[in-house]
Structure formats: structure tokens, C-alpha cells
């Protein structure tokens, strides 16, 4: 190869690049951003559908809305069980119980005596909304704006009680379709009427529905910083709703701003560009690629908590006591549709935390001893930590109580359900299909919630025995005995001799679903029952559940708030799916349970409430409308440079508490991502090695003559 040949030059360049590349990171997915900056890097899989606090209800949306909006209440970041504390409110709401004559009742008044409940909420003075062009009057529309920053000028104003009332009225807005309208309208007088009234209001093009002009019966502004909500009857769980963005402050100016002509066509809506008073504000919104939160400079004086639960101090979770929040300046969310790049970028240090998919489970976690888990040596060497927590989520198998074979309150059907509950080895399911990430459920109430009992007192005595200090599933023989008593000895109808066939309706049709179905079939076979799986698409499955045509099915529930009511209502008769399109997919109805539910719902936590819950659980365990399934255990990994991260699915405004050791991250990223450049040089040489013989062959062929070729 001559010194001035193109190949020589290319090789030299690549070699020089190889040498120059030593010690410098080439694979940084955030070009131009400093690794040591106080920025948290996270990922999202599914784009959020709604960021309007009156519509948003999904977990992936909560990641954003809970940071941008600040409801009156919030959960204490560290304390467990979860505890409500003032957020935007200056103090906890003053609650007044009122009887039918309008007189005040004592706090422990029976539910039937309470005609109305009044919540007086005093908000903090001096809170301000995030900087936003909506607060600048007469702002002209710029040429083809892409982000909210393109409007150039921002304003703000103080958050007042009217803003909270305005948002409550927005629940009734006919175009917004709030998912909790019907629920809240059941308690809040006038909300449904307002909805009907607003439906008939014609809004001109470019105009907007100014809700300030429409009074709402159950809500009033007391003074600039105080408002009052009056609910019909009693609904103690309403306090939990006050900790959700459904009840956060929204400025009317935002609605006016986004109603301007040309805004919606450019995706400038409150659903896309929220305007809140929370610790962060949305500054970049490309949900196909990247969303970005920046600290709200107008956020109130909020401080890191100085108390937590036992162990928090040792875990270093109190070291930032008293520091002003938020601790991180920016939070970057990159969209990752596939788990492989997500996982590898976490290992390279480009995401600060990650969940663990089944594909990567063995690489991240190993089981030691008696089901205990610990992080693998590979992860440990990188300083990665494993954080686990039981989520307030229950995944269960429902028995349709309207089904003539498996449903109903009759003793044979009940025994059949119990036999199936025993035969389905939930512990094995968790081990095989969830990599141990679950706790077998004894009833619908997950750990960490009031009313849940652990140990021997908490087991389901119809399915488990307490042996050697742990619950042990009853034997298959016991299941067979129950099956025989149900009228199906050895899995056949005692009268007709026909084999017992149970139908599972499911949407699972993929490979993973097939393996689960095979496992389930095997479990049913243990008691000689045939399982037929009716896989269908999601819509048809929903139809079957709604019309009561499913026999058994898998279902789940993720808590809205940490109260037993939020789980027991899934089995409340009035919530029957077929009868009232409620959330009781099993269509279970038990008069005593329903009566106790109504009482329990209106009570404060205490021994009496616990006693009632114990009884409710006993009824459920006896009737077995669900095979109780499992409570989800969440495993999460985090790098050594992320601080103050405490798991807890109920607390959703977590970002303001977290911190980053930027210097450590920059150092680790540099160490972990040194480019390996020798393949470039080898590749070049390989190319040369291929081209040179080819070139020689070509030259030989060009120079050869027909005569010499024939002679050859």
C-alpha cells in the first residue's frame, strides 16, 4: 500500500481516531449535557395520554402530574404506614360533621347520623404558579411555536383559594371527561347539575368556558386563602382524594390562554402543557422521545422531612433534613420502548434507576437461602443497590359469582371455589412467573394498609395451615375432598358422570401467556378438573366481564389511596359489574359484608374498625369469590449516586426529595464507557485484506489474454 493511497490515509485516520478516543466517552446519549449536573435521568415506556389534572389517572401520567401540580394534601415521604400531611394546604382540613338539622356532630358520630361533612381548607399564603405565558396579557402568537418557551414572555401570580375551586368545577367540564366525575358527583352536591348545565352551553370558536361564572352548590370560597367543600353524608376517604392532582390549583388564565385560536392545532393545550404550582414544571414535551421537568423557581418554601420510620436514619434518608426542595434542578425522561436498550443504558450509567424485567432478572438478582434475594456480584461491583417493596396492588383470579357452576352462595359452589384455590399453588406461580416478586395473598388487603394482619392471625384458614411458624398450603387431598363434597368426586359430576370443565377467559395469547396457561392446566389437573382457556382480544374480554359471561378470569387492582375501603369496594355488592357496571368484576354480593363495608368505610382507623375488617376478611375467605392471588413486590435498582430514594407506590410526588451525586456519576460514566477502538483498526485491516486480493485478481484478469487463458 503506497503512503499516499486512500486506504493508507483511511487506516491512519482510524488509528488516530482510535488513539484519540482513549479516555473519552463516545456513547453518551445526552450530547452537550454535563454528567455531573444535578439532573436525574429516567425513562418512560408508554407516552402519557393526559397531563390535565382533571383527566389524568394513570400511573405513567402521575410521574409527571404529581410533580407539576400540588394538591392540598400529600403523603409523608418517609413515614409508613402512609400518613397524610398538608401539601398546598397550610394545615390539615378542618372537618365538621353535620346532622340533618345542620348541627355539628362529634367526630365519632355514627355514619347514619351524618347528613353532611364540611371540609374547610386553608391554603398556604404566598404560593405562586410556575412562570407561564398564560399570565401575560395580550401576548401575540409567535410564528409556529414549538414549545411553551417560544412564547417568549412569562408571568405568574399568587395561588388563591379560587384556583382550587375552579379546578373542582373543571371535574364537571363536559369536554374533559374526568374519570372521577361520577364518583365525586355522588358526594358533592351540585356537581352533576353543573355538568348537565355546562353541556348545554355553546362555546364560540376561540372562546372558552369560564367556570368562574357558574356556581357549584357544594363548594364555596371563604376568603382569599380558604375554601370549603360540603359533601353529602360522610366519606372519610375524601381526604385521600385531596392528595391527588384532581383537586390541585389550576389557574383560569391557563384555560383562557389555551383556548386562543391556533393553540389546539399546535398541541398547546392544558392536557399537553400543564400549568401548576408544584415543585417542577414541564419545559420539554416530546412524548415520542423526551420529556423534561425543570425546578419551578416559584415553588413555595418546602423542606426535606426530618422524621421518618425506623431505619430511615441508618439508610441515610434523613441526612438532607431541612434542605429546601426540590433538590434536583432537572429531570429528563427519555422514551425507551424496548427493554434491552433501557437496561443496557442503565448499566452504562445513563439512567439513574431501573426496574428489572424478566429478561434481566438473573443478571441483576440472585436468590439465596430460603427465598431471600440479593443483588448479583456484577451489580454489586458497580455499586448498584436493590430496593424492594410490597406494592399496594393485588392480582387475583376472580370467580364469576353469577356463573351457575362456580358462582352463587350455595355450599357446593363455595367448596368448588375453595378446592380450586387450594389446588392453584400460588407460591409456585410467583416463583416461576414472577421471579419471586410477589407475596401470596390471603385476602384482598395488601400489607402496609390498615387492617392487614400478618403472621398466623392473617392467614386464610380455608386454604392454609399454620405450621412451623409459616403458612403452608393445604394438601391436594383436601382440595379433592372439597371437590367431592361439592358434587364432583374425582372431577366428575356425581349425578351425570360428566367431567367438570372450568373455563378461563383471558387476553393472554403470547408465549408468556401460553406458559402460564400450561401451568394452570396442570394445577387444575391435580384435582382432575379440566381447564379450557378461552383466549380473546381485550375488547371481547371486557365485554364478557361486563355481561357476566366469564367463568374465571384474572384481574388486578392498584390502590388509589392507602385505605381498606379502596380494596373492599372491589367486592361490594353495589359495585357489581353486571348490575351496575362497577368495579366488582366477580359480581360478589353478601348482605353482611355489604353492611359491614358501609360501616367500615365511615370509620376512623382504630380497634373497632380493625374488628370489622377482621370480620369482613373472614366472610370473604369463607365465601372465596376470588382466588386471592398475590400482592405485587416491586424490585428496583439504583446507582450509588442517587440519594433519598424510598419506594412507596402511594407517594407519587417523589422527585422533589431525590438527589444526585453528580461528581460520582460523571466519574463512573467515564470509567464504564471507555470506547473500545481496536475493532475499528481491525475492521480497516480486514477491509484491506479483502480488497487487495480482489484488486490483484482484477488486474490479473484485465491483463490476461484469451490465448494465454486458453493455454492456462
Amino acid at each position: 500500500m503506497r503512503r499516499n493511497s486512500p486506504l493508507w490515509l483511511l487506516s491512519s485516520c482510524l488509528l488516530a481516531a482510535s488513539l484519540a478516543g482513549c479516555g473519552k466517552v463516545w456513547n453518551d446519549p445526552y450530547p452537550g449535557e454535563r454528567a455531573d449536573a444535578p439532573v436525574l435521568y429516567s425513562a418512560f415506556v408508554n407516552r402519557p395520554k393526559h397531563l390535565d389534572p382533571v383527566q389524568s389517572y394513570s400511573e405513567n401520567e402521575a410521574t409527571f402530574t404529581y410533580q407539576i401540580y400540588e394538591p392540598p394534601l400529600q403523603y409523608h415521604y418517609l413515614k409508613r404506614p402512609y400518613e397524610l400531611e398538608p401539601g398546598a394546604a397550610a394545615e390539615m382540613p378542618r372537618v365538621r360533621l353535620i346532622d340533618a338539622e345542620g348541627r355539628s356532630l362529634p367526630d365519632d358520630a355514627p355514619a347514619e347520623a351524618i347528613a353532611a361533612t364540611e371540609y374547610t381548607i386553608r391554603i398556604r399564603e404566598g404560593m405562586r404558579f410556575q412562570p407561564h405565558p398564560a399570565f401575560v396579557g395580550g401576548l401575540a402568537m409567535p410564528d409556529d411555536p414549538r414549545t411553551i418557551a417560544d412564547f417568549g414572555r412569562n408571568g405568574s401570580r399568587e395561588v388563591i383559594a379560587d384556583d382550587f375551586v375552579y379546578q373542582i368545577k373543571r371535574l364537571a367540564h363536559p369536554q374533559l371527561h374526568s374519570p372521577i366525575l361520577e364518583l365525586i358527583a355522588g358526594y358533592l352536591p351540585g356537581l352533576r347539575d353543573l355538568h348537565r348545565q355546562l353541556r348545554d352551553v355553546a362555546v364560540p370558536a376561540g372562546g372558552w368556558l369560564d367556570l368562574r361564572e357558574y356556581p357549584l352548590e357544594g363548594v364555596e370560597v371563604v376568603d382569599r386563602y380558604t375554601y370549603r367543600i360540603r359533601l353529602a353524608g360522610t366519606y372519610p376517604q375524601f381526604l385521600y382524594w385531596l392528595a391527588m392532582p384532581f383537586f390541585a390549583a389550576v389557574p383560569w388564565e391557563a384555560e383562557r390562554f389555551y383556548a386562543r385560536e391556533g393553540m389546539a392545532e399546535r398541541n398547546f393545550t392544558l392536557d399537553w402543557w400543564p400549568v401548576g404550582s408544584g415543585p417542577y414544571m414541564l419545559v420539554a414535551n416530546d412524548p415520542n422521545s423526551r420529556m423534561e421537568l425543570a425546578a419551578n423557581p416559584n415553588y413555595r418554601d418546602d423542606r426535606y422531612p426530618c422524621v421518618g420510620e425506623a431505619g430511615d436514619r441508618d439508610a441515610g434518608l434523613l441526612e438532607d433534613c431541612g434542605r429546601r426542595l426540590p433538590l434536583i434542578e432537572r429531570v429528563v425522561f427519555a422514551r425507551e420502548r424496548e427493554s434491552i436498550p433501557y437496561w443496557n443504558k442503565f448499566l452504562q450509567g445513563y439512567y439513574d434507576a431501573s426496574g428489572i424485567s424478566s429478561d434481566n432478572f438473573d443478571q441483576a438478582v440472585q436468590t439465596v437461602g430460603d427465598g431471600d434475594v440479593r443483588i448479583t456480584d456484577e451489580m454489586q461491583a458497580k455499586g448498584i443497590e436493590l430496593v424492594t417493596s410490597v406494592a399496594p396492588t393485588v392480582m387475583y383470579m376472580g370467580f364469576n359469582m353469577l356463573d351457575p357452576v362456580i358462582g352463587g352462595n350455595g355450599e357446593p359452589a363455595r367448596k368448588l371455589r375453595l378446592a380450586i384455590s387450594i389446588a392453584l399453588d400460588q407460591e409456585e406461580f410467583i416463583s416461576i412467573f414472577r421471579n419471586g416478586r410477589g407475596v401470596a395473598a390471603m385476602h384482598p388487603l395488601p400489607p402496609g394498609l390498615f387492617g392487614h394482619r400478618g403472621g398466623e392471625a392473617g392467614i386464610n384458614p380455608h386454604v392454609y395451615d399454620w405450621k412451623d411458624g409459616r403458612p403452608v398450603r393445604k394438601s391436594v387431598d383436601e382440595a379433592r375432598r372439597l371437590l367431592a363434597e361439592a358434587g364432583y368426586p374425582e372431577g366428575r359430576d356425581a349425578k351425570t358422570g360428566a367431567p367438570l370443565v372450568i373455563y378461563l377467559d383471558t387476553t393472554g395469547t403470547g408465549l408468556g401467556g401460553k406458559a402460564e396457561v400450561d401451568w394452570l392446566t396442570k394445577q387444575f389437573r391435580k384435582i382432575d378438573v379440566q381447564l379450557v382457556v378461552r383466549a380473546t382480544d381485550y375488547n371481547r374480554f371486557q365485554d364478557k366481564i361486563r355481561s357476566g359471561n366469564a367463568q374465571i378470569f384474572y384481574w388486578g387492582w392498584n390502590a388509589d389511596y392507602p385505605d381498606p375501603e379502596n380494596f373492599f369496594f372491589l367486592l361490594h355488592g353495589a359495585q357489581g359489574k353486571v348490575a351496575s357496571q362497577g368495579e366488582n368484576a366477580a359480581n360478589y354480593r353478601n348482605a353482611e359484608f355489604d353492611r359491614l363495608f358501609e360501616r367500615m368505610k365511615a370509620m376512623r382507623d382504630g380497634p373497632e374498625r380493625q374488628r370489622i375488617i377482621d370480620r369482613m376478611i373472614a366472610i370473604l375467605q369463607h365465601d372465596a369469590p376470588w382466588n386471592w392471588g398475590f400482592y405485587e413486590v416491586v424490585y428496583s435498582l439504583q446507582h450509588a449516586w442517587i440519594e433519598n430514594r424510598k419506594p412507596g407506590k402511594i407517594v407519587r410526588n417523589t422527585l422533589k426529595y431525590q438527589d444526585i451525586d453528580g461528581a460520582l456519576r460523571a466519574q463512573r460514566r467515564g470509567e464504564w464507557n471507555r470506547p473500545v477502538t481496536w475493532p475499528l483498526a481491525v475492521g480497516t485491516l480486514l477491509l484491506v485484506a479483502l480488497v487487495v486480493p480482489g484488486w490483484r485478481q482484477y488486474r490479473r484478469r484485465e491483463r490476461s489474454t484469451a490465448l494465454s487463458a486458453e493455454a492456462g
Binding site: 456513547n27 395520554k49 389546539a264 399546535r266 398541541n267 480482489g694
Partner: protein
């Protein structure tokens, strides 16, 4: 030629109406308006009233094709089909079922899709043609045999394998480029190198084999022998004469896909985090967003028709014997 083009455009209208009708039928066979509403409203606490309100606000409360309650033309126009389909012919795609402007979304996603698709297409074509001509040049030698075996091996492997292996080797083990991500502008090149390389490599086997067959057919023709007899060098014979005469079948397969480059690539974009159009339709189908599905199918059909017309025009450019009458 202009008369031909006008005729093709006129023909396109019934085709597009037909495609639109078929999309509508297929979509609503699987999803009822209630299903769509439920999907948009979420899975928790969805009441029949909320579903009814949502359908009314989006026009899904109307009959699908024929509204017996209306008078005159209203019987046809006050239907879901007419309301959702008619304005597409004026390229007004409206808003998706979750409220986003579809035309704007397409505009935003098109750039990243093209950033991947255009270099992959151009480079892929260049590499495949060069490689196949090389095989033809070395035909009946060991290099040719090895090349053909390599092609068969390459086309037998799933493109998913190339993506995962490429990401593992180049981005994870060698750490030469980011595994996934995208930034707009000139800084995007580190994010594009690997997906483009994989795109080119994954398509090379099939293309090279196909082009090799075309070139081999041409190489035995009289004009090639004449050229050689006149002393024209082999590379000139191949690149100037054989390539030009094999262009018609190449153009048939190539030009038609040029407009469709806008539509992006589902796999490449998903794995490399490219915010393009590749996954837009799939996501819309999963979300039961009929507004997006019908718009994307409409645009896809239109681009395909444009591709076919362009193919016809390109014939006239490479072969003077072809006339569009």
C-alpha cells in the same frame, strides 16, 4: 405524459375511498365505539355515563354508515364514516382520539424517520448494487460462491437479530455509539450510524442476490460482448452498460418505496429510540385510536400510489422506448 398523470390521479380517488372504507369496516369489526371510549377513558372507574359523554363529544354516538333519523343528505353525512373520512380528502386529518393534532404529529415524526430511512435507502442501494456487480465481476470464481453463500446466510437471519447483536456488540461491548436515543440536527449522527449500518447490512443479502441475478442475465447479451470486443474495460462494461440496462426491474422495486420512506421503520425506530412514524400506526392500533389509524392508512395508500406513478415516470427516463400515453 400529463394526460397519463391526470388519469392516474383520477384513478387514485376511488382507490383511496375503497381503502378508507375497508379500513373503517375492519377497524369497527374489531372495535366498537364503546371500546374506543373505554380505551381512551382508562380502566378505572369508567361509568356508562362517561362513555356516553365521550362518544358524544367525539361524534362516535352517530350511526356508522346510515342515519335514518336525519333528513336528506344528512342520512349519509351525519354518520361516523362520513364525518371521520370526508375531510381527509382535503388533507385535514383532525385530532387523534386523545386530542392531539395528527398532521402536526406526523410532521414532527417525519424528520427522524427520514433521517434513518434516507441514508439507509441510498447507502443500501449503493452497497447492494456495488456488491452484486462485484459478484458478477468475479462470477464463477470462489469469491462469487462465497459471496452468494454469504448473501443466503444474511437473508436467512431475522433483522431483529441484527439489531440486538449490533446493539450488543457496537454499543454495549465496544461502546462506540449510544445504544438508543435521538437528538435533532447535526448532532444526531452518533445516534444514526448504527441503525443505518444495521439497516444496510440487514437488507444487503436479499438485494444483492436479486441484483446479481438481474446483472447475470444482462451480462450474456450481445451488447456486452460487443463492448468487450471494442476493448471497453470490465468495470465500465458493468457500471455503464450492464447497470443501465438492468435498471427497469431495479426501478420497479426501488422507486415505489421512496415515498414510503416517510412512514419509517417499526423495529429500527423502536429499538433505537428514534421518535419517528414507524410506531405511530401500531401504537394507534393498540390504543384503538381510529383517527390516527385511518389517517396513516390513507397517507400510506396515497404514498404507495405516488410511488407507482413515480416508477412509471422513471421507466421513461432510463428506457427511451417507454412512452406514457
Amino acid at each position: 405524459m400529463w394526460a397519463y398523470l391526470v388519469r392516474r390521479i383520477v384513478y387514485a380517488v376511488p382507490i383511496l375511498i375503497g381503502v378508507n372504507l375497508l379500513t373503517f369496516l375492519l377497524f369497527f369489526v374489531v372495535n366498537t365505539p364503546d371500546d374506543i371510549a373505554r380505551m381512551q377513558l382508562g380502566v378505572k372507574r369508567v361509568t356508562p355515563e362517561a362513555i356516553d359523554n365521550w362518544k358524544r363529544a367525539r361524534g362516535y354516538h352517530l350511526p356508522r354508515f346510515f342515519n335514518a333519523r336525519e333528513e336528506g343528505a344528512g342520512k349519509l353525512t351525519e354518520t361516523i364514516f362520513f364525518r371521520k373520512s370526508a375531510r381527509m380528502f382535503a388533507f385535514d386529518f383532525g385530532a387523534s382520539d386523545d386530542g392531539r393534532d395528527i398532521a402536526r404529529e406526523i410532521g414532527q415524526r417525519m424528520g427522524p424517520s427520514l433521517a434513518i430511512a434516507v441514508p439507509t435507502f441510498v447507502l443500501g442501494l449503493f452497497v447492494a448494487i456495488s456488491f452484486s456487480l462485484l459478484l458478477v465481476f468475479f462470477r464463477a470464481t470462489r469469491l462469487d460462491v462465497v459471496g452468494v453463500v454469504l448473501c443466503v446466510a444474511m437473508m436467512s437471519i431475522s433483522s431483529l437479530f441484527y439489531i440486538i447483536f449490533g446493539q450488543w456488540l457496537v454499543a454495549k461491548v465496544w461502546q462506540l455509539v449510544p445504544i438508543s436515543g435521538y437528538v435533532a440536527g447535526l448532532e444526531s449522527w452518533p445516534f444514526l450510524v448504527l441503525p443505518v449500518a444495521i439497516g444496510v447490512f440487514a437488507g444487503l443479502g436479499a438485494s444483492a442476490r436479486w441484483y446479481r441475478t438481474l446483472f447475470l442475465e444482462e451480462i450474456g447479451r450481445d451488447y456486452v460482448r460487443t463492448a468487450r470486443a471494442k476493448g471497453v474495460s470490465e468495470p465500465v462494461v458493468l457500471f455503464r452498460h450492464v447497470l443501465k440496462n438492468a435498471m427497469i426491474p431495479i426501478l420497479t422495486g426501488v422507486v415505489v418505496v421512496i415515498p414510503l420512506l416517510f412512514m419509517g421503520s417499526l423495529l429500527i425506530e423502536s429499538f433505537f429510540g428514534i421518535p419517528g412514524l414507524g410506531s405511530y400506526t401500531i401504537e394507534a392500533i393498540q390504543a384503538q385510536d381510529f383517527a390516527v389509524v385511518r389517517s396513516m392508512v390513507f397517507i400510506g395508500s396515497l404514498l404507495y400510489i405516488v410511488g407507482l406513478v413515480l416508477t412509471d415516470i422513471s421507466y421513461t427516463m432510463v428506457d427511451p422506448r417507454v412512452r406514457l400515453e
